[in-house]
Amino acid sequence: MKKKFLSAFLCISMLATLISGCGATNAASKSGSVKDGGTEGTEGTEAKAKVEVTTAGDSTGAHFQMWSFVAMHNAFYASMVEKWNQENPTKKIYVTFTTYPYADMHDKLLLSLQSGTGAPDLCDVEVGQFPNVVAGEKKWLYPLDDALTPYKDSMVKSRLDIYSKNGHNYGIDFHVGATVMYYNAALLEQYGIDYTQIKTWADYEAAGQKLKEASNGSVYMTSVDTGGTDWMWLAMAEKGEDWTGGEKGKANVELDSVKTMLTMQQKWLKEGIAEISPDGQVDIEAGYQNILNHKVASFPKALWYMSRFLNYMPEEKGNWALAKCPVFEEGDTQSVGIGGTGTVVTQQSKNPKLAAEFLTYAKCSLEGEKQIWEQLGFDVCNTQLWTDTSITQDTSNKYISFFRTNPFDILNSIKGSIGQISVTKISPTINDQMCTTTLNQVLENGKNVDDALKKAQDAIKLEE
């Protein structure tokens, strides 16, 4: 009798736990795989690493699914959904936003597009991954040409071209992504260095030497990346070179500008002027912590990195200044457009026309551009904004008040001198080769630059 009772009780409790485990959770934040830089030092930066689900809009309207890999982007889109619903009461929408970690999201997107099911209506695609996604062209993506017509003339053309293929546009970006030099002016002043005097890389290196001596090696002038190609892009753009060979050409990584930059970086590492970026690059938790620890006094990064300061390093307010990047020689191009997120509308959407209209409203209209600047701090593609002094001189704006210099002043001073590196089918391969193998070989392992680049070239030629 006792045994029967015990076994019955166990069966019931097993059943109960089984059923309760199957209960669904809706719209709450789910925590997915944790992907972070492995540092113990930062807290409160979970937004970037988990899977988050949020919603916005009017649930009586058209339902859309939107994915991104940056939580801040989704927050921006959510605010634009509310504005759209206000201005278009007959075309209301309701959007469910999911933020996945970077690699996860792109893998999921490609898989769902390839298999024909499960893709979201709208999706952010990082510019480096765009060639993989646009490979499906009309089969996978809805052309945005019609939705773009009202805004086309005021957008920077090259930023629209990056996301086009065979005459049709498939993606819309947030920004130009102009690269500038971020200087911790407060820190440099402590050691008697005036960053405004730095015009060339030779000046930069000299300042680095001075910093090393004055700080006894405790502060590095900069950190060089093994997990990102920004430094290489800057070098190439300054000299007008492009390792992808453009849309029609062949890839070639054995360029003079790349060799010069890598050799220079090797020298800096050897002399203790620079360190290797912890976890590979500065746009990552370990990078933010390194900046907060005042281990590095400067680094080149696109203007969109300003939002990282506000979100992850608010304590640095008033310390940092923006300036033009140092060049090899006078006359070199002064900046390069780096990064970008082209948002696409997939053919699997039930109402792609409405999705496209909302998208162009959010990212191209004057109101959308204004919000992009104010919420995300991006150098928008709509050039009308660059000269609108009500925006550019608005010192109450959180980005303008954070830094010692005005970002629009820098932007307007490099306006005609922003180089562009093409993003083509071979770009992901070059990027992968550089970030996994070549940069590590050259910077971590001290390998000969020419040899490492030759090996990279051989590996890349295999893929063409």
């Binding site: 992907k35 492995g38 792109h106 490979a135 996978w140 992968d432 996994t436 392992n445 590996a459």
Partner: protein, 299 residues
């Protein structure tokens, strides 16, 4: 009505009906993908169209440096796990079976527990433990002994070491249980007669335990060879993806995932999968033949 009933009760048809669910799922999830993969490995699969390319994918594999690195890594991992994860669990099993260990249940539980954890979570935790910063667990240990911090996961030797520690932590218990069950099958009277003949512990192990554990050892070796070659999750979690510096953590299946899912080159990935199958088959066939598994019972 009577005819249908008779089929269900028919003694001839019953076995086939019972194995039908298994057969269906086997055909659907194993046989069909196998043939589909073979077919795909001879194709170039683009989003818009699929073209037949013959042996191009295989020719590319022959000159692909990343693939060679992946094969090298998988082989090293397989060999090292076989060398470490067969003798040591065997030793533990023999200890568990003897009178030298008290509270056997506790020890068995402790050794087996890691196998129950999720690879994803334990991999992530090991990655944090082996992080390059001064605050990483292993670096704190280094400092205790007076050494400087090491960038564990950036170099081949230390990275492989971390991977092996993860593997041993996880699989020792499982292999130990295999050997324990193998030991249960050995007749105790053999040991008694050996003692009467004056054998010490080492002799007993060498002449009775070890030979009679042969079937279990062959089984563990076979699955270790395959598991070592096909290892993916441990290294994927340890380096948070497929981009380990200089590809030190890239394995064959990792490379398959990279090509197939990340780069959407399913034809090429299928070729990689087939090459893995062939390599594992060859090694295991050779190993099984050498171990005399296919010899007829001695007359």
């Amino acid at each position: 009505m009577k005819r249908k009933k008779s089929i269900l009760y028919s003694k001839k048809a019953a076995p086939y009906i019972f194995i039908l669910p298994f057969l269906l799922s086997f055909a659907f999830f194993w046989i069909y993908p196998l043939f589909s993969t073979i077919k795909m490995s001879f194709q170039d699969i683009q989003p818009a169209q699929t073209t037949f390319v013959g042996f191009d994918n295989y020719k590319k594999l022959l000159i692909d440096p990343a693939f060679h690195i992946a094969v090298g890594n998988s082989f090293e991992y397989m060999l090292l796990t076989c060398v470490i994860l067969i003798p040591i669990p065997m030793l533990f099993a023999v200890l568990m079976d003897s009178n030298l260990v008290k509270a056997k249940g506790v020890w068995k539980a402790i050794l087996y527990l890691p196998a129950l954890t999720s690879v994803v979570i334990s991999g992530t935790l090991f990655r944090l433990m082996f992080s390059e910063y001064d605050t990483g667990q292993m670096n704190i240990l280094m400092h205790m002994f007076g050494f400087a911090s090491i960038k564990w996961l950036k170099f081949k030797a230390t990275g492989l070491g971390a991977l092996l520690i993860l593997a041993c932590w996880r699989w020792t218990g499982v292999n130990m249980l295999y050997f324990l069950s193998g030991l249960k099958g050995i007749d105790k009277s053999l040991y008694e007669s050996a003692e009467i003949d004056g054998a010490n512990a080492w002799n007993k192990f060498r002449f009775i335990t070890f030979p009679l554990l042969k079937p279990t050892s062959i089984y563990v070796l076979t699955i270790s060879v395959y598991a070592g070659l096909a290892m993916f999750l441990e290294s994927f979690m340890l380096w948070a993806g497929n981009s380990s510096p200089n590809n030190i953590g890239l394995t064959i299946v990792g490379y398959l995932y990279k090509r197939g899912i990340e780069k959407n080159q399913l034809g090429y990935a299928s070729a990689i999968g087939l090459v893995l199958l062939v390599i594992a088959l060859i090694i295991n066939m050779v190993q099984l033949v050498l171990n005399g598994t296919f010899k007829k019972e001695a007359d």
